[in-house]
Amino acid sequence: MTHKISEIKKAHVLLKEFAFEPVQLERGYANRYLRINLDNNEISILPVTQQMKDLWIGGKGFDLWLTFQEIKDLKDFSWEHNANPICFSPGPLAGTTSFPGSGKTLVTTVSPATSSIMDCNVGGYFGPFLKFAGFDSLVIVGKSAEEVIVFIDAVNHKITIEKAPLESLDSHVVAEELTEMYADNEIDMRNIAVVSAGSAAEHARMGLLNFSFWDWRRNVARLKQAGRGGVGTVFRKKGMKALVIKNRGITPAWRVEENKVASEVTPKTIQQLTCEKDLADLKAIIASFGNDPERAFEILLAVQERFKCIPKTAIEMICQLTGQPKSYLYHLATFHDCFTLDPEKKRCGDADCDCEDEDCDHEHDEDGEEEESDEMPEGEIRVVAPNPIVTCRDNAFAGLEKALKMTPEAVLAEIKASELLLKDTTGIPAYQKWESVCTASTADKKPVVVTNVVLNGINEAKIVEGLMIAAYATGADQAFILLHSKIDLEAFETAVATGQQILNLKVDIRLIGDDYLLNKDKSVLSALKGLASEPYHEFVRNTKTGYHDRPTLIHNNETMASVGAAIFHGAEWFKKHQTKVFEVYGDVKNAAVVELPYGSTIGDYINAAGGSDGAINAIQFGSFGGPMLKATRQELKTDYTTLKEAGIVLDSSEIDIYNKQTPPTDLFAENIACLSFDSCGKCGSCREGLFHASRLADKIADGKARKGDLEAIGDLAECMRETAFCQYGINAGKSIMKSIKEFGDKLAKGVK
């Protein structure tokens, strides 16, 4: 029968209360010990003499010496006598946290098994807490007429002996009952330690004592054993149900030097949730993502939407329920701009919305006024594609059906023969990655396939088809679709459901954040683990050791959507019909997602978007991570070979056209500002380099630059190109250098 904690507590009868003065420990000693006599509930504090320390040091030495003092003059003493002392001593080095393995309590008694001295050493928090309470040893003698608990309260400096009839005897129950009963709150549970035996201890000579410590991650009282020779038997014989200690908390005085950025980011006010409904909502949000630590971003986003900020309570509860460390969650919450920690600066939670208004209903999105110029309104993506492969809406899953009739090896061969290129920065044959994944695949570590949805306007069904073909060919049993916004969620769910009728594959759709950095595979992998999207391993290949150390094939959605066509039409056809997609924005007549034959010129894409609106001043090739190109570059073909020869890096498949209204100096400054804003900050060259490059570019744009400033930007860009941790910084360096090459004369005008 189990009772509620309140009932159990109510049944306690106070038999004795004893107040004591706290002491300061000195070199590992409190210099006094505690003696409790259960015959008469007498509690006394006695000195630890210098001789005791010199001769017996502490721990077992003290236990034995104190035992000797207790029994040396007794006639016909045996273990069964009430006077048989149980001694507990932590030892002078115990309680140290800066040297591992320093928390043992030494327990002695005269043993029911040997009738002689028994000693045990045991972990758990009791011993260190006893010393922190100001006692080098505890001696318990005598026998209580009733079932009692001895409670040492180091917070209020008192010791009580309480009659305790209702607690369970069994340790896994009583340790938790008493931890909960004596803790002020959940966080305080780690400050309670319980010593208890169990229901068999009194019927045996091999009874032991369990020493608890609260495991906050598991939310259970863990038990360590003083096991040998029947110390638990003696404990029960004394009428002891448990020995409880409450420590005053030992959170160390930890500090880090103050600095400006920390004080900018750290919220001035911290929101705590106390209302039961809020807490229930929070719990439901976390549960709706399966308490999955890897979905921390989505959980935080839902929290942001519900509470308009990230309350501290949320971080704590997510940590408790998902097991994701609090520090990682805080990193994530301060990493993405869509989260606000300070309740004074509430945000609506929409990643695309810049408002600071609690009541925001995104009206500015709906009427399309705020973002009129360079981006298309949501849901109205114009697609221009004369011979579409990845943007076409028909023939979905025909390629998958064909692939399933082939062997995986035949599919791999077809992909190899098709010369399908990765439509990301690299432009290398996709087959290289497929092969690498297949080679690394083992029975224990099956591959994972991932598609990262970076481009608009690609057919969701085509993406899912490609993902499934890739999984089939590589033997992957898990697939992920990573979304940067929720807009296409339903379309993907439908496509996945359709695809799963053809191939039974586990496909998870995850929202990972609207983040330019997330074009990069290494950042994607971190995001997939629920971490801030910074790269973790520099030289580890995802295809060998990726998600959970499994071989991981990551393709962006354009590459993935091409796979179906390569299989459906066959390699020979595909080789001649490969396409490349660019989103064309800015000063063009009809902003559009344009899919043209691979190798079309920049001008072809601009024309497909209705041509430029006014004379072109600059072509921003590949969003802000790409270089600014002169108008004459319209004739440049966009195949990877030509781009490479021209020293142009394709950072993202976007072409932005700027007419004379935008001076190149402004564009230059804007690009670097965006790059700096999106840098994860992990490596010094990208973090510090982009910050200062941005400062200097601003000066140029404002006409306040000095001689050498442009060269300094060049030096920083070169440094990033050569030394940045990941592709983000490397590409940024390359693009800035290219922009300077293209527009050096114009930029120099900003230098005085």
């Binding site: 420990l25 070199r27 502490g58 030495g61 034995l64 000797f68 030892g91 002078p92 309680g95 140290t96 946290t97 800066s98 591992p100 393995g101 320093s102 040997t114 009738s115 002689s116 001295i117 972990g123 758990g124 260190p128 780690r190 169990g198 229901s199 019927h203 091999m206 032991l208 906050w216 991650r217 863990r222 038990l223 040998r228 959170t251 160390p252 005085a253 930890w254 500090r255 880090v256 600095n259 400006k260 920390a262 750290t266 460390p325 520090s327 805080y330 301060t334 990493f335 801030a532 030289f539 999106d678 900050g681 992990k682 060259s685 973090r687 510090e688 200062h692 030096d715 920083l716 940045a724």
Partner: protein, 671 residues
């Protein structure tokens, strides 16, 4: 002369480092290769005992692989193929200079930044801003502390927050996380002093001295545990398969030392199916060994909590050994037995050993099903073993008798069935009244004596010599064993005086511990020194081996004298049952016949031709029992005890504990 080996071993590769050919183990990080070659590359974020951060980029080198040149950060760059490395090419120097300017611009007063900048020829920076921080102790975002929190202590309490230029080190919300355990690892690795935390709860004389030695151990845990004892993965259960392999795992009441089914309950099974992995399972804050493993969500199949899903602490080695001793090789049983022993407050070791004894007595016909109340207590009877525990908790039946222990049962049954008395005496695995812990000691004289000379009874914590004797072969001679029986019980007692855990001392050892002679290596001198410094850091008093031995000897002798006061503590209490020393039954003898006969012939010089098994067993027994007596004699003498195992007054005087109260107790025993 041996043939000249021209080819590199398959796991090695030759590279050219600044013009010099270097042979490198594949996968070694380039920075470590360079350091080993005496090339000192600048770095602010690499720490020898942590995995690379790769954040500062100062350690860049230019490498040429297959004709392609590239600048890479050497700290995380694995050398896997032939390459030409330039650590100070013009290109590298130029980029280092830019980086140094960036860092100097942000943290102009931090000594390590200034030193590295100066080395790169930079004393002035073009890159300053309002964020330029002239604090000498500013955090330089290297990330060592974040790694130390994770890798040294597996806690993950600190991390960076913010993005890009706003990146900063913090605990969530800029507050101290109450879950921080104060291990000080972060402050220890911090290159600037930006992090401050002192372990001051004990108010030690010199907290830094303690920390500096404690962190050595943390670094070893982070780097060596995974290839040594895997305490962080499986706790003490890591030795289950080792003990089985060396014929030391108790099986069927210590008849045998191995069993074909051990693989079902070994650490591989426990790791894969039971123990939660990756948890900071320390039984006290700051323990980087984190061996307090647990099984989460275990659904109980029997007893009053049947159907409950519980967290089970363990199983540790001794619990698994108790189960193999009962012949129970079902891992679910091991976990359930572990759980019920704990929650009922019963010692898994005594319960395991005693149940094994009951099982052998049952199989030998000492007791029968009627006596046990219907329980068929043969070896391997898992359900019956659990039922004994449940009975014990209810205070009824055979369970309560079993709970009285081996000595009590042995005495009772010897009276009831005198024909079994000698047999029960031989197979009842207790000494001084305490059940043996779970090591099969027949082949290790050192462990036999380690067990039975221990003051409290046959528990290995006073002298766990079996591993160094049988597995590591560090105490091969009789003299070595006798010396070990002096030093180790005192050294191990010392942990009990201090409140320390012994396994942190010897379950992970420095990578180069083998450089010492075996007898010295067994002590793990670097670790012993760490502990002496720990003591000095706390007390302010330096200590050495002689002082340590005296500190322990005082308490060790005090315990012996208290035992004497209680009517024990002499030679006759130090005797093992023969099962601990040699084969009691023909079945045992025949199972290891080759080993025993080799000993009879080669060591004892006994002609075995035409001898019956009984005759051979008798000679073996006589020899082994005599050896035990001999080693006891030497151990007593070394300890300063009389032939009867009682401390001499001279020894007490020598130790400064010739207090009248104590002298009075042993006076009559002085010869």
């Amino acid at each position: 002369m041996a043939a000249i080996v021209t080819n590199n071993a398959p796991n090695k590769v030759d590279i050219t480092l600044n013009g010099k050919t270097v042979s490198v183990v594949k996968g070694t990080k380039l920075l470590k290769v360079a350091q080993a070659e005496g090339v000192n590359l600048p770095t602010m974020c690499a720490y020898k005992d942590l995995t690379p951060n790769g954040t500062c980029r100062m350690c860049i080198c230019e490498v040429e692989i297959n004709g392609k040149k590239e600048v890479i950060a050497s700290c995380d760059f694995p050398v896997t193929e032939p390459m030409v490395v330039e650590t100070d090419s013009e290109k590298v120097k130029k980029q280092r200079k830019t980086l140094a300017e960036l860092y100097l611009g942000r943290w102009p007063e931090v000594p390590i930044v200034k030193a590295i900048a100066a080395r790169c020829g930079v004393t002035k920076s073009r890159f300053t801003s309002e964020f330029t921080d002239d604090n000498k102790k500013a955090c330089i975002l290297c990330g060592k502390c974040v790694k130390a929190c994770d890798e040294f202590i597996q806690e993950k309490i600190i991390d960076f927050a913010g993005r890009g230029y706003q990146r900063h080190l913090t605990m969530p919300y800029g507050e101290v996380d109450p879950h921080c355990i104060g291990c000080t690892s972060c402050a220890f690795v911090c290159p600037t002093g930006a992090l401050q935390v002192v372990d001051d709860m004990n108010h030690p004389a010199d907290p830094k001295m303690i920390r500096n030695h404690g962190m050595k151990v943390n670094a070893e845990m982070a780097n060596l545990d995974k290839s040594q004892c895997r305490m962080r993965e499986v706790g003490t259960a890591n030795i289950v398969e080792v003990m089985d392999k060396y014929d030391l795992l108790p099986v069927h009441n210590y008849k045998f030392g191995s069993h074909p089914d051990t693989y079902k309950i070994d650490s591989k099974v426990l790791k894969e199916k039971y123990f939660t992995q990756g948890a900071a399972d320390a039984c006290w804050k700051g323990c980087s060994m984190a061996c307090a493993k647990a099984v989460d969500g275990f659904e109980l199949k029997t007893g009053p909590y049947k159907g409950d899903k519980v967290c089970v602490d363990g199983p540790e080695y001794e619990t698994v050994g108790g189960c193999s001793n009962m012949g129970c090789f079902d891992p679910d049983f091991v976990v359930e037995f572990n759980f019920y022993c704990d929650t009922y407050g019963i010692d898994t070791i005594s319960a395991g050993t005693c149940t094994a004894f009951v099982m052998e007595a049952y199989e030998a016909g000492v007791i029968d099903k009627e006596y046990t109340g219907g329980l068929e207590l043969k070896f391997g009877a898992c359900n019956e073993a659990l039922e004994l525990l449940h009975q014990m908790a209810r205070g009824e039946g055979m369970g309560v008798e079993m709970g009285q222990g081996v000595r009590w049962l042995k005495n009772k049954w010897s009276k009831e069935k005198p024909e079994f008395a000698a047999f029960l005496q031989d197979i009842g695995m207790e000494a001084k009244g305490l059940e043996y812990s779970e090591y099969m000691s027949k082949e290790s004289l050192a462990q036999q004596a380690g067990y039975t000379l221990a003051n409290k009874g046959p528990q290995h914590d006073e002298a766990w010599l079996i591993f160094m004797d049988m597995v590591n072969n560090q105490i091969p001679t009789f003299e070595d064993k006798a010396e070990a029986l002096y030093y180790f019980p005192l050294w191990r007692t010392w942990f009990g005086l201090m409140g320390l855990c012994k396994i942190v001392w010897n379950d992970v050892v420095p990578a180069d511990n083998k450089k010492h002679a075996p007898q010295i290596a067994a002590k793990i001198p670097e670790h012993v020194n760490n502990y002496f410094k720990f003591f000095e850091g706390m007390s302010g008093v330096p200590i050495n081996e002689a002082i340590m031995l005296d500190q322990s000897a005082r308490v060790h002798n005090l315990q012996r004298i208290l035992n004497r006061m209680l009517g024990f503590g002499t030679r006759k209490e130090d005797l093992p049952p023969y099962r601990a020393v040699g084969p009691v039954t023909e079945e045992e003898y025949l199972s290891r016949q080759e080993r025993y006969e080799k000993q009879l012939v080669e060591i004892i010089g006994y002609d075995i031709t035409g001898k019956t098994t009984a005759e051979k067993m008798a000679v073996l027994r006589a020899y082994r029992e005599a050896q035990y007596q001999k080693v006891s004699d030497v151990a007593y003498a070394k300890r300063g005890w009389t032939e009867n195992g009682v401390p001499t007054i001279a020894r007490l005087k020598q130790l400064g504990i010739d207090l009248p109260d104590l002298v009075k107790i042993i006076e009559k025993d002085q010869v």
